[in-house]
């Protein structure tokens, strides 16, 4: 588990370094994701501790958003004065985004004859 955690942190660190040194607009952790994926493909197999550690972290991903969410108290004044615009925009945009994404996914899957879960 310590080894797996170290690997995750190393990938993130390498991603941060790459993003900063090359001035890429992409966040470091996303580059770290790509690197870890390449490592897994190159290795051909998934080490059991890495699988376990990652799945444990991802299962409780929503916990990790709580500290930033509590920051709502800092912006209470702004949200109070603009709450109609903010809430309507967030809600309508979420409905539109989910609908457009899912519909385009389905149309293109049918049109191109790809997609589906079973081989």
């Amino acid at each position: 588990m310590i080894g797996a955690l170290t690997l995750l942190l190393l990938c993130q660190l390498a991603g941060e370094l790459l993003a900063r040194l090359c001035g890429l607009p992409v966040p470091g952790p996303v580059l770290g994701l790509v690197m870890l994926f390449v490592i897994c493909v190159a290795r051909g197999s998934m080490p059991e501790p890495l699988r376990e550690t990652s799945q444990t972290i991802l299962r409780h991903l929503s916990l990790l958003f709580v500290p930033a969410g509590v920051g709502v108290m800092v912006h209470a004044a702004r949200i109070e004065s603009e709450w109609v615009a903010i809430l309507v925009a967030l809600l309508v945009s979420a409905v539109l985004t989910i609908a457009v994404t899912a519909l385009v996914f389905r149309w293109v899957a049918r049109w191109s004859g790809t997609g589906g879960e079973a081989p």
Binding site: M46, S54, H60, L61, H75
Partner: protein, 239 residues
Amino acid sequence: MMPRFGDVWVYLSATPLLWLTATLAAYVAAFWLYQRAGQNPLVNPVAVSVAALVAVLIVSGTDYPTYFNGAQFVHFLLGPATVAIAVPLHLNFAVVRRNLVPMVAALLAGSVTAAVSVVGIAYALGASRETLLSLAPKSVTAPIAMGIAEQIGGVPSLTAVLVILTGITGAMIAKPVLNFLGIRDWPARGFAVGLTAHGIGTARAFQVNEVAGTFAGIAMGLNGLATAFLVPLLAALLG
């Protein structure tokens, strides 16, 4: 002699222990409630924990920086968790490859819809310029969205809050919207939820189905990349 409660409070409020524990305890309780409610998306564990913690902080007169001093250890894990998405991506690579064409099309359509619709609606309803710039990257996972907001002149900490509100909203409305549209396959459902509601949608998707969760995770990563290029471009175009 018993130490006075006030002294204990002064000691505890100066260490990260108290608010770190409070964050985990609030989440454990909220997650229990969520399970008890049959994983009803309206009882979203992030929304419930945030509401409970804000109430406790206000009642105890604690400011956000003091709270965050303890909670930052949880916040920090967002980075390694983003990297960890490579694991389900690799494990489900065969399904992912089969859905590559629809994924790319849905990614482009979805990331443009997310940014343009939120800014357009908020602008029409008279939101301030700072709020608009902070709203633009709202469908992207927090660490990425905050970077984008900073780049285009938004307020990163406000963006973090808007991102979380988006995630909670997305996780709540996904099921009725997708059922209404008759979208049944897990790749399409997961991808739409992850693109719209980033990590909070992905967490919800993983609780429902592993394939959906994987596609949600991929959508979250890809939308992070796409939006990081798209939103600064749009902001430059609009001046």
